[in-house]
Symmetry: C2
Subunit: 287 residues, 2 copies
């Protein structure tokens, strides 16, 4: 049982329409509010070597990234912290606060719980004019597939390559980029936190189209040998880049640094270098 | 170190003003939105004998109660579930969904995580006209102190008295009551989830006043001997009744069932039957 199959259990109960995007979308005056929640904890997410401050930063960043991927501006964060030991709390809160401040949001509430394991759940609320909202749906055949930054760097650290610690420990949500993409007509978007491959399959599952990308067009982590960097770029998790589709007439987006890595196809296959892309990446599994 | 002391660590970082109420308050068009998050988990909160459905129900109910305590109507719930075993997920989600439907909210999003221990974090969003919003602050000397329902029943089950299982396992957030109290001029309000005593001290810490209550005016769990029921009523945790203050001219509130248990005093003491009330109840502690 993996988390994408388990999501079907949830969809059957709460409705498929509530499980399609990185955030839920709510009416809020003359704008829309987007809302998302993420659970992180010591064993799986806070790897050895992270400081309390970095744990707090990461916990906020993953949620702000979901907001950015809708084209919205982060506004508010709630944070629930489960503690086996009270002492990390100050560092965790400071890290979360610093991340929020950096990206324009404020911490407005939370909960503290006694827990066997350090567990942090952040809920983020963002705001956007409804015409600039970007969902996972909306990709059209002929659109370009783009990605911000250099994917694979977080996984590079996990795989033992040096120089990538900050990419994993202090992810930078693409908040300015997401807003600009929304205002520039991106047709579909999500973040690539589980890797490019799973992200493209997720996009394929909600759009009536497929994707064809070229691996050589994806920027590679510097100093990693080619045979490893392709694997990292396609299947590595822990990045918070934005992967998006863009009508060709909207390319290039002024002021935005990104790579065009492929196109949206009419056929519902997901291809890399002309062959089927393996459907694997970062996933939780249960026995 | 207890959770109220630990809250000072948080206040120093995120600001005291973000830690005073059961919910944060945000502008949202012509109304205000209230937002709150709660972390529950197997060891501490989901006691032996609870079904998966009841675990989901309770997880939603505690958050809806925080919304009710602001006088707001629950609208949306996000739910993050950490699972050691995937099989409870369906029951947990169904319980949360049923609780939301009962009280007018919808589940709009969530997260699934692999965790060592079943952990559920719910984030609730509610809406209210700003003139009907009720905060913890606002109590004035001379106001009456009121409480809904019969407190102490959840603790009665924990203490081994029979007949109170549902009070603990399936708490009923006082949503209709909270809304009515907001529209009827309640001056301050919170839920009594950590017991009446700690709730009054929490209210005292943010209001420039004190409280004097009479224990015999608090409804007691039926069939519990008097020497136990006073203890349960004052110090028992796990209830989700609303404790509130009400200007005397607003009493009685038509259509609302509640008990007047005391008055707000100018002196900042918290008294029961004329003597200082012990400052104890349900609290997390860390070594």
């Amino acid at each position: 049982m993996d988390d994408r199959k388990l999501l079907n259990v949830v969809m059957d109960i709460v409705g498929r329409e509530n499980c399609l995007d990185d955030c839920a979308v709510l009416p809020c005056g003359d704008r829309v509010m987007v809302a998302t929640t993420d659970m992180l904890h010591r064993t799986t997410d806070f790897v050895a070597g992270m400081t309390d401050w970095q744990i707090g930063w990461m916990s906020a960043a993953v949620t702000l990234s979901d907001i950015a991927s809708m084209g919205a501006a982060p506004a508010y964060l709630l944070i629930a912290v489960g503690l086996d030991d009270w002492q990390p709390l100050g560092g965790v809160m400071k890290g979360a606060q610093d991340c929020c401040k950096t990206f324009g949001a404020g911490i407005i509430g939370g909960d503290i719980d006694h827990h066997d394991e350090l567990t942090v759940v952040t809920t983020g609320l963002g705001l956007v004019e409804s015409r600039y909202l970007v969902r996972r749906t909306g990709a059209k055949p002929g659109d370009l597939v783009g990605i911000t930054g250099t994917p694979g760097q977080a996984q590079a650290h996990l795989d033992g390559f040096t120089g990538f610690e900050k990419a994993l420990f202090e992810p930078q949500p693409r908040v300015a980029e997401g807003g600009l993409l929304g205002r520039s007509g991106a047709s579909a978007m999500m973040d690539d936190s589980d890797g490019i491959a799973l992200s493209l399959y997720d996009l394929s599952s909600v759009n009536d189209c497929g994707f064809s990308i070229e691996s050589e067009k994806i920027p590679r982590p510097e100093g990693v040998p080619a045979e490893s960097s392709r694997e990292l770029a396609l299947y590595g998790g822990g990045d918070y880049e934005l992967i998006f589709t863009l009508p060709p007439g909207r390319h290039p987006v002024p002021g935005l640094s990104y790579s065009v890595i492929g196109t949206v196809t009419a056929e519902r296959a997901v291809l890399v270098d002309g062959k089927p892309l393996e459907r694997r990446g970062y996933q939780h599994t249960w026995e």
